[in-house]
Amino acid sequence: MAQGIDREVIAPTLREIAADWSADQEVFRHTHWGKAMMWIFLLSDTFIFSCFLTGYMTVRASATLPWPNTAEVFALNIGGQDIPLVLIAIMTFALISSSGTMAMAVNFGYQRDRRKTTALMLLTALFGLTFLGMQAFEWSKLIFEEGVRPWSNPMGAPQFGAAFFMITGFHGLHVTCGVILLLIIASKVARGHYDKSGDYSAVEIAGLYWHFVDLVWVFIFAFFYLW
């Protein structure tokens, strides 16, 4: 059985990849240049976030004061009860949902459905804004109520605040850029720009970036909040 898959699926696929790479003109056949470039950019951006997260893990290991208990720090008092990670769960849910709506927008884009594409992209941007709003709330709670600063932290290691503000801030900046990008592309879709050029690839390229930002969030969530 395994040998059958090997012969029928894997080997021909490998042969096709080799044929594409050894052919002339294009390595990625019928791929929009912008899409290829976005993929390469995302690979580079992956290295930026990897370095940030590695740096965070290193200072967490080198810190001399104890690391705060994230379950307590990121708890929200609702109805007299501390519920750990509830805000972050909602934020994550909003962001993951936005990936869903974005995927639908790309699908309708290729079907040339201008109205639905625009609506779904706006909905995606709205989810993004929700995420940013909740992040602003979380930051202000940490700063004003808990007294966490980049250089100090009443609950222990100062590296906690430093790494938190730097990494979530850098990710928030990516989300902000993403929302602006989505709004620009959505308005172009609405004005029929891509019907004229006959090419809806821009929607997919914006989508690639958006999915990437979501994926990065999953790692930040796992490494910062759950650990």
Binding site: D24, Q25, S44, T58, V59, A162
Partner: protein, 572 residues
């Protein structure tokens, strides 16, 4: 967008005025010249700094204007400018921009607008860098490696504003490089002309392509390190700052990891060596093949060696940190991975020699520089074997041996290739020919001069003379011969410094007065020599893109009418 590959000019941005043609230009050739002129200008600043350093080292006490602080600032700025702002920018932004579209038969980069932004960001980063000379306290004197805590701690020159301008400038440079690098990589992958397979590309393109991919993966580490140090500096965080005493008082910082910076810096810094070296490897392969009228020996092996060196260079960074302290098993790992790189590198050197073997060698100026590169590169590579081994490196660390090694291997060698490449492509870029006699004089003084400078430095290093010292003074273990050698090196360095004037005079004078150049003066087979106009016009190829039928190295083919067959000639 496969359709844009057809022979139409629609996707091109057409300039209408002088400003859009030469200032806000989106033409890769103009951007390449903008990049090159900026890089060479800032490189001249670094060259002047090295001359000032040599004045101090050769004749200590004779120039009271050079204070210890100034000396450290010269060292730091010289290193960073030469590595990042000159070599990286010139080889990728300059030669990458000029050669990639012409060599693969494209009309321009895939996203000319982003390409233009890349240059303007680069110029901004250079302006911020130069601003460091004028801020209070002057530029940083932390050494080009910028190690914290000392880089941002009181007592280091420029610890207040000089380091800040340096870090901001580096972050902008990374953004500029990313925009350019994305273009170079995507253009090579997606915009080649008909018949131009990856395995028919000239090695110059392979070198620049691989270096660009590496840059996109290595520069992020520098970017992150710069951002974190800026936080440490201005927001009082402790990413890199441990608890320590400064000026007799305990600092506010605690629990940071200075080693983290070193890891991030060298995760960028080691690939950076090959980001500079690989384009030079590629270009020198083409120079040797063209001027020896022989096909490059072992083309496939040359390509794979470039790719393998690129991949391996991401696994060796901690060999710069042997004296920082690490688990002996890590030392073993990094020494082993470092020495493995010698294999693909040796393959390349043998292949260059075998290309020359029984070739019809024309000792023109570009060829002289190419052959000189083989000499300096072998010497620099051999001293690298000493430094790659932990037990040999530890006593040699932080001595002039290290200075001699990296100047030979990644300073002089790529610069010789750059000189060769400028002489080689100048007739195509400007349509004029330079003066042969002046070029040869420039070559011989430079080539013999670098040996006069850097060979004695190995000797100083083995004696244990430390680097980055303002003056040696009366030190028991340092014999009189060291002072003599230092004076000798300084005199040689100043002669080489002045001799570069011949190069600039030759280039600028020939621009206006040089004889008109033949479209293909060297009889080269690759595409960039086959453009309808010299210099190539906007869009490069006239109405139709060239069609490629063979590799770029058909020289002295038996039975052929001429001693080269252009890539566009159909196979019979």
């Amino acid at each position: 967008m496969a359709t844009t590959l057809a022979d139409d000019l629609r996707p091109l941005h057409h300039p209408h005025s002088w400003v859009t043609k030469y200032v806000w230009s989106q033409d890769h050739k103009v951007i390449a010249i903008q990049y090159s002129v900026t890089a060479i200008s800032i490189g001249l600043v670094a060259l002047v700094l090295s001359a000032l350093m040599r004045l101090q080292l050769g004749f200590p006490g004779l120039f009271p204007a050079i204070q210890p602080d100034n000396y450290l600032q010269f060292v730091s700025m010289h290193g960073m400018i030469m590595v990042v702002y000159l070599l990286t920018a010139l080889l990728l932004g300059g030669f990458g921009n000029y050669l990639i579209p012409l060599m693969i038969g494209a009309r321009d980069m895939v996203f000319p607008f982003v390409n233009m932004l890349s240059f303007w960001f680069y110029l901004l980063s250079v302006i911020v860098l130069v601003a460091g000379f004028f801020v209070p306290g002057g530029p940083t004197g932390a050494g080009w490696t910028l190690y914290p805590p000392q880089a941002i701690t009181e007592g280091t020159p420029g610890h207040q504003w000089g380091i800040a301008t340096m870090l901001v400038s580096l972050a902008i440079f990374v953004a500029a490089f990313t925009m350019g690098g994305l273009n170079y990589v995507t253009t090579v992958l997606q915009a080649r002309t008909r018949g131009m397979t990856l395995m028919r590309m000239p090695l110059s393109v392979w070198g620049i392509f691989t270096a660009s991919v590496m840059g996109l993966l290595a520069f992020p580490a520098l970017f992150v390190a710069a951002i974190m140090m800026l936080f440490d500096h201005f927001a009082g965080t402790s990413f890199f700052m441990p608890t320590m005493q400064s000026m007799g008082a305990i600092t506010d910082t605690q629990g940071g990891s200075p080693l983290l910076f070193q890891h991030l810096f060298w995760f960028f810094g080691h690939p950076e060596v090959y980001i500079v070296a690989l384009p030079a490897f590629g270009i020198v392969s083409d120079l040797i093949s063209v001027h020896a009228r022989r096909n490059i020996f072992g083309y496939r092996m040359m390509v794979w060696a470039i790719v393998i060196i690129g991949a391996l260079s991401f696994l060796v960074w901690a060999h710069h940190m042997y004296v920082s302290g690490m688990n002996p098993y890590f030392g073993f790992f990094f020494a082993t991975s470092t020495l493995i790189i010698a294999i693909p590198t040796a393959i390349k050197v043998y292949n260059w020699l075998l290309t020359l073997w029984r070739g019809d060698i024309h000792l023109r100026v570009p060829m002289l520089f190419a052959i000189a590169f083989i000499f300096t590169f072998i010497h620099g590579g051999l001293s690298g074997l000493f430094l790659g081994n932990v037990s040999v490196d530890v006593p040699l660390s932080d001595t002039f041996f290290v200075v001699a090694h990296f100047h030979m291997v990644m300073g002089v060698s790529p610069v010789l290739v750059i000189f060769g490449a400028i002489y080689h492509w100048y007739p195509k870029i400007f349509g004029r020919m330079w003066n042969e006699t002046l070029g040869k004089l420039h070559f011989w003084i430079t080539f013999l001069g670098v040996y006069a400078i850097f060979l004695p430095m190995h000797y100083l290093g083995i004696l244990g003379v430390p680097r980055r010292y303002y003056a040696l003074g009366e030190t028991a273990f340092i014999p009189q011969s060291v002072h003599l050698a230092n004076a000798w090196i300084s005199i040689a360095a100043l002669i080489v410094f002045v001799a570069q004037g011949m190069f600039f005079f030759n280039m600028i004078w020939s621009l206006f007065r040089g004889p008109r150049a033949d479209p293909n003066p060297w009889g080269a087979a690759s595409l960039e020599w086959l453009t309808p106009d010299t210099p190539p016009g906007h869009g490069n190829w006239g109405p139709h893109l060239p069609v490629v039928h063979r590799w770029a190295y058909d020289y002295s083919v038996p039975g052929a009418a001429r001693d080269f067959i252009p890539q566009t000639e159909p196979r019979t």
